[in-house]
């Protein structure tokens, strides 16, 4: 390991000051990704800023009609939060199927997002919940829909000097289901991940969210599928069509976990099954 500087500031202000003066510094929260990247040599930072002591990154709170999820919250923390379980059971489920308890007790929601893996389990549910990324820098702050946050595998819209401070989640309307397709029971990445949220009124879909993981360079929202569902009553035919449309909307690759062809078919089935579960 080559020498580097290490900072452990106590506040967001200090983090932002450091980032301004050392723009190439790497942030470390749980460190489950960074330590691995450094070991493999794919990350060789000169400066590392630990977020461990930053109070503002923590916690889950209700503010008016929306909820604030601190980027530093661990996945284990999410699975153990009665508040989150009450309001966002689908998100809690998604957190509970990430890797293993050992990873979940270190890894943070912010890390899962900023690492921008196409297969990250938390992202499709957050997209389906209309999460907004609250980004801060020395120059100010901006709120960006999470759907616009990702640019490619490992790439986000965060600019030099910016950090993801928290996520805002609106009061959820309707239920959200996440399903993870993985051949192994524990410690496996999603072959596909599908989150569906429906707000219904007397059987008619008022609002639909369909978010897909591991089937494109970034997790994505299947907007045509959402449009197809909106304003209609769920029928077996519609649910089948929605699955097919979602499969058309994604662009997976072949890898060791499954071919692109197979992934598209899994999207089709999981979208339909999640819709059936939300009937």
């Amino acid at each position: 390991m080559k020498p580097f500087e290490h900072f452990a500031p106590d506040s967001v202000g200090e983090v932002l000051d450091l980032l301004q003066s050392i723009p190439k510094a790497k942030l470390i929260a749980g460190g489950t990704d960074l330590l691995l990247q450094m070991k493999q040599g794919s990350a060789q930072p000169d400066t590392v800023i630990s977020l461990k002591n930053v109070e503002e990154l923590r916690g889950f709170a209700t503010r008016k009609a929306r909820f604030r999820l601190g980027a530093g919250m661990t996945l284990r923390g999410i699975t153990r939060s009665p508040e989150l379980k009450k309001h966002f059971p689908g998100l809690v489920y998604a957190a509970s199927v990430v890797a293993s308890e050992q990873i979940r007790s270190l890894a943070t929601v912010g890390g899962n997002i900023c690492n921008a893996s196409p297969s990250a389990d938390l992202i499709p549910p957050l997209l389906a919940l209309d999460a907004v990324a609250h980004i801060v820098s020395r120059d100010g702050q901006r709120d960006i829909p999470l759907a616009d946050f990702f640019k490619g595998p490992g790439k986000t819209i965060l600019k030099s000097g910016e950090i993801l401070l928290s996520l805002f989640l609106p009061q959820p309307s309707g239920n959200m289901f996440y399903s993870k397709h993985a051949p192994r029971q524990f410690m496996d990445l999603a072959v596909v991940g599908v989150a569906v949220r429906l707000q219904k009124n007397q059987g008619m879909v008022r609002e639909a969210r369909v978010a897909l993981g591991a089937v494109g360079p970034t997790p994505l929202r299947a907007k045509k599928t959402e449009a197809l569902l909106t304003g209609k009553t769920l029928t077996p035919k519609l649910m089948l069509e929605a699955g097919e449309m979602a499969a058309d909307e994604c662009s997976p690759i072949d890898d060791i976990r499954g071919s692109a062809w197979y992934r598209k078919r899994m999207i089709k089935i999981h979208v339909r099954r999640n819709l059936e579960a939300l009937l």
Binding site: M1, K2, P3, F4, E5, H6, F7, A8, P9, I28, G30, G31, T32, L35, L36, M38, K39, V48, S50, K52, R76, A99, S100, E101, Q102, I103, S105, L106, H181, P183, R184, Q185, F186, M187, D188, L189, V191, I256, G258, S259, Y262, R265, M266, I269
Partner: protein, 931 residues
């Protein structure tokens, strides 16, 4: 606050406050093991994929390898060393000991810490909670069953009442007979406290580190810079070893006539992962030197890949000595198979292929060498100390007696630690530099450079008459043996003998080839090719059963080998043929499960259940070759009794059963025994831990050693044959006594009165056993093994036909083991074999350059295991110790066939390529629909 390079971190570790000055991103696993000397926390992958390094931080389970030092500021850390207090084991540790939850012990500390984190918060957990808590730790030995049971047991309040009995094994001391009991593992205590010393846990303090530089290409020629110029650039480097530094023969291999794998390749590499140079120096330097620093220049050549590539003849052969790439052929012919097929009422056939499979032991190869006078001492994880000794000697150009192999505890082997790995590298470095040299393989290095299960392309054909009696069987198998021989010829030999299964087949023809390619060397892996071959034969049994409209289990019973039958090699089976009993023992489960699956399927549209079965027979010991074991036992003046056990315990429990057997043969309690394992200076050669031979061959030697010592004692005491012995063990001042009593009275032997040998023993016994076999003739006919183990598995699966996923719900396994020396250990072997068979069937596929880590190479987790029922059948083998024979490989062989059969019953689809991953099954299901 800015810190450059080092920071001060304070934390509490196992109740003691620590402040260390350290690189803030140093992994805590390194801090524990290297800075603080706490080696109970193991490192299996260094990437958060295996869980061996699980510790507790503020009560929560975490991977130490992904925990940076700075993250622990102010935290309360607990490791396995903190579980017991003042030598008293925790309830959880006792439950692990009692259940036999630790086999090799490498995952045990991680398992314990994961379980403890759960129990701290949920003292009486449910089974799903236990599975979830243990989901982040891989175990390759146990199949997880006993681990889950142990955690559940630790959570039960009734368990604490039984604890005193486990802690005080005196109740067992009076138990004269040990064979057949569930005696606790003699090395169990060390494994559950983290005190066990594995290959990476010990090295002399001033050791240099060695790292092999390996080829990133499957086939290439290469040049490198002059080592002297590299050394000048890196002051921390002491030596760069090249092929020219190998003092003896730069080639090693299993067979006396094939030493084809170089220790360090010279100019030319034949597989990705082959060692080309070795860097020796301080750890940081050997790890930081890059290919560029070494001036490595590759000229990449087109690689020979796969069976077709090997046979196409388009490229230069992999090894110039083998122009057609056919390294070895196996052949067996019993009667006229062609005529038999023409006279058969029904003939079925098929083609299958399988993937390379990794052993997946959680302990990567590790050890050290040091020069002592004109000898070399090598401490290493190995399955075969004596073979290592001889191989290192020829590589070093030394006499075998100049090499001492001191085996570490072995964190799993399964055949993968039968070949040399780091032994010759550290030996050369330590010899040249006259300093101790250590080496620990990284996980990707272990995956890339060590052997795999042979991928096979095979076709087979089977015939029977209308009554369902088998008439003929034909098999052709091409085994991809990779770049070097390793155990390829053994696989080519073993498969023809076994390929027709444990069935009476009048006519058999089998042909196999071991093909050289520029891929990972394929070697020994639990079954030597027989697990692959069984996939073909068992699928054909199902097909014949279907055509004859006979229940598949019934079909197997009708055709099973029985006493008095002759095998495919025309060997007469006279004793211990429990195949029918095994199949019959499964019958009630079979009928109930099939019925229940049928009911389930009537009510389910997409999820379908099925129940399948598979049989196994497997010869114990080497094929038609002498493979003797010698065991020694000695009593010293203090009454200390030691079994000098050369049979390597790689987790399966040889240390324990050898003592059980020897103790009963001698007539003293097993609990009085101590043991030495595998050290070539202290133990006799008991051969390799392979071929399911240790319980049978070395076990018999242990029995003979015990009987030999007993005979000497009886003679000395002039007592009757059936005299009872009592050993009074004392500290050295007063000396030990042997009291020999028979009907006429009792005799005291004062041990200190007898002149001791050099090692201090005053009374010794020795036994040697070499199982009787005969050579095979040109048609593969003869008696290749002295005995065979038999067995069968049935598996129930649930297939989601829309997703292609398969979940194994339950599995029952019946095995004829001759005599169960230790039922707990047998169950553990069988459950572990099932886990590996399940992995081979459903998920394991090693692809060079792709699945070179444990998150892309998937092995079953605790959540992937079915409920398992184990049935032990004892049809005693007269040659074996107290009637026992082997189980190691038998346990795995029928699992994949049973699962494949179940998938077929559930879906109607036959899958002809392993593993049956969801995408493959999905594709096959859709193709079947479109037909």
């Amino acid at each position: 606050m800015s810190i450059t390079e080092k920071t001060s971190v304070s934390f509490t570790l196992n109740g003691t406050h620590h402040t260390i000055t350290v690189n803030p991103l140093r992994r805590f696993s390194d801090i524990l093991r290297e800075d603080l000397g706490l080696t109970g926390t193991k490192v299996g992958c260094d990437a958060g994929d295996c869980g061996a390094c699980t510790i507790q931080v503020d009560g929560k389970q975490r991977y130490a390898c992904l925990t940076a030092a700075a993250q622990l500021k102010g935290c309360n850390v607990r490791t396995v060393e903190g579980l017991s207090s003042n030598g008293n084991l925790s309830t959880l540790q006792l439950a692990f000991l009692d259940e036999g939850a630790a086999q090799c012990g490498i995952c045990t500390p991680g398992m314990l810490m994961a379980a403890q984190s759960l129990l701290d918060q949920t003292p009486n957990p449910s089974e799903p909670q236990v599975l979830d808590a243990l989901g982040g730790v891989l175990c390759r030995c146990t199949g997880y069953t006993k681990i889950v049971q142990a955690v559940l047991k630790a959570g039960q309040s009734s368990f604490s009442q039984t604890i005193t009995e486990i802690e005080n094994p005196s109740s067992e001391i009076n138990r004269q007979k040990s064979v057949g009991t569930r005696m606790l593992k003699v090395d169990g205590y060390k494994k559950i406290t983290g005190e066990e010393i594995f290959g990476a846990d010990n090295a002399p303090e001033n050791s240099l580190w060695l790292r092999a530089v390996r080829s990133p290409h499957a086939r290439a020629t290469f040049t490198h810079a002059d080592p002297e110029t590299v050394l000048k650039k890196f002051p921390g480097l002491v030596r760069v070893l090249t092929a020219d530094d190998v003092p003896g023969n730069n080639g090693f291999g299993i067979y006396p006539h094939i030493k084809d794998q170089p220790v360090l390749a010279k100019n030319h590499v034949r597989f990705r992962g082959e060692a080309v140079l070795a860097l020796v120096g301080d750890r940081e330097s050997v790890e930081s030197v890059t290919e560029d620093d070494l001036g490595l220049k590759w000229e990449v050549l087109e690689a020979v890949r796969g069976w077709k590539g090997a046979l196409s003849g388009k490229l230069e052969p992999v090894q110039s000595e083998v122009p057609d790439n056919v390294l070895a052929r196996g052949f067996l012919k019993k009667n006229d198979v062609e005529m038999a097929f023409s006279e058969s009422d029904i003939v079925v056939e098929g083609k299958w292929t399988t993937s390379a499979v990794e052993h997946g032991y959680i302990e990567p190869e590790a050890g050290y060498a040091r020069k002592v006078g004109q000898r070399l001492e090598i401490f290493v994880c190995t399955q075969t100390p004596y073979m290592d000794r001889d191989e290192v000697a020829q590589v070093m150009g030394l006499e075998p007696k100049q090499i001492r192999i001191i085996p570490s505890a072995v964190g799993g082997g399964f055949g993968g630690k039968l070949d040399l790995s780091l032994q010759p590298l550290v030996a050369i470095a330590a010899w040249i530099l006259e300093r101790p040299v250590r080496c620990i393989y990284t996980r990707p290095e272990s995956l890339a450079s060590t052997t795999k299960r042979h991928p096979v392309s095979m076709s087979a054909k089977a015939g029977c008459n209308r009554d369902g009696k088998l008439t003929a069987f034909e098999y052709h198998g091409d085994f991809n043996t990779g770049a070097y021989a390793s155990w390829g010829p053994t696989v080519a030999d073993r498969v023809p003998i076994h390929c027709s299964g444990p069935y009476l087949v009048p006519s058999v023809l089998a042909k196999t080839r071991a093909l050289l390619t520029n891929e990972s060397p394929s070697g020994a892996f639990r079954g030597f090719g027989v697990p692959q071959g069984s996939i073909a034969s068992e699928a054909l049994m199902d097909d014949l059963a279907e055509k004859t409209e006979i229940d598949p289990l019934e079909f197997r019973i009708r055709n099973a080998l029985r006493k008095g039958d002759r095998t495919a090699t025309s060997q007469l089976l006279e004793n211990s043929v429990g195949q029918v009993e095994c199949l019959e023992a499964l019958q009630s489960h079979w009928q109930i499960w099939r019925k229940e699956a049928g009911v389930f399927n009537q009510n389910s549209t997409h999820k379908k259940r099925g129940v399948g079965c598979g049989s196994v027979w497997y010869g114990c010991g080497n094929t038609s070759l002498s493979n003797p074991s010698t065991m020694q036992v000695g009593i010293n003046a203090d009454g200390k009794i030691t079994l000098y056990n050369g049979a390597m315990d790689i987790g399966q429990g040889a240390n324990t059963i050898m003592i059980q057997i020897c103790a009963d043969a001698l007539g003293l309690p097993a609990t009085q025994f101590e043991y030495v394992m595998g050290d070539t200076d202290l133990t006799a050669d008991a051969g390799k831990t392979s071929a399911s031979r240790q319980a049978f061959v070395s076990g018999k030697a242990a029995q003979l050693a015990g009987e030999n010592l007993r005979a000497k004692i009886i003679l000395l005491a002039e007592a009757a044959e059936n005299a009872t012995l009592c050993l009074e063990q004392t500290d050295s001042s007063s000396g030990g006594k042997l009291i020999v009593a028979d009907k006429t009275g009792s005799q005291e032997i004062i041990l200190a009165d007898i002149l001791p040998l050099a090692n201090g023993d005053v009374l010794t016994g020795e036994g040697t056993f070499d199982p009787p076999t005969t050579p095979l003739d040109e048609n593969g006919q003869g008696s290749p093994y002295a005995t065979y183990g038999f067995g069968a598995h049935i598996a129930e699966v649930e297939v989601d036909t829309l997703l292609g996923t398969t979940k194994v719900l339950r599995l029952a396994a019946a095995h004829d083991v001759g005599k169960a020396i230790n039922p707990t250990q047998l169950e553990g072997q069988i459950q572990g074999g099932i886990a590996q068979g399940l992995g081979m069937a459903l998920m394991e596929e090693y692809i060079q350059g792709v699945s070179e880590n444990l998150h892309d190479y998937l092995m079953p987790t605790v959540g992937d295991m079915p409920e398992i029922k184990v049935i032990l059948i004892e049809d005693q083998e007269p040659l074996g110790p107290f009637g026992a024979k082997g189980i190691g490989e038998h346990a795995l062989i029928p699992t994949a066939p049973a699962i494949l059969g179940a998938i077929k019953q559930a879906t109607g689809v036959s899958i002809n390529h392993l593993p049956v991953t969801p995408d493959r099954l999905y594709t096959a299901l859709r193709e079947a629909e479109n037909k």
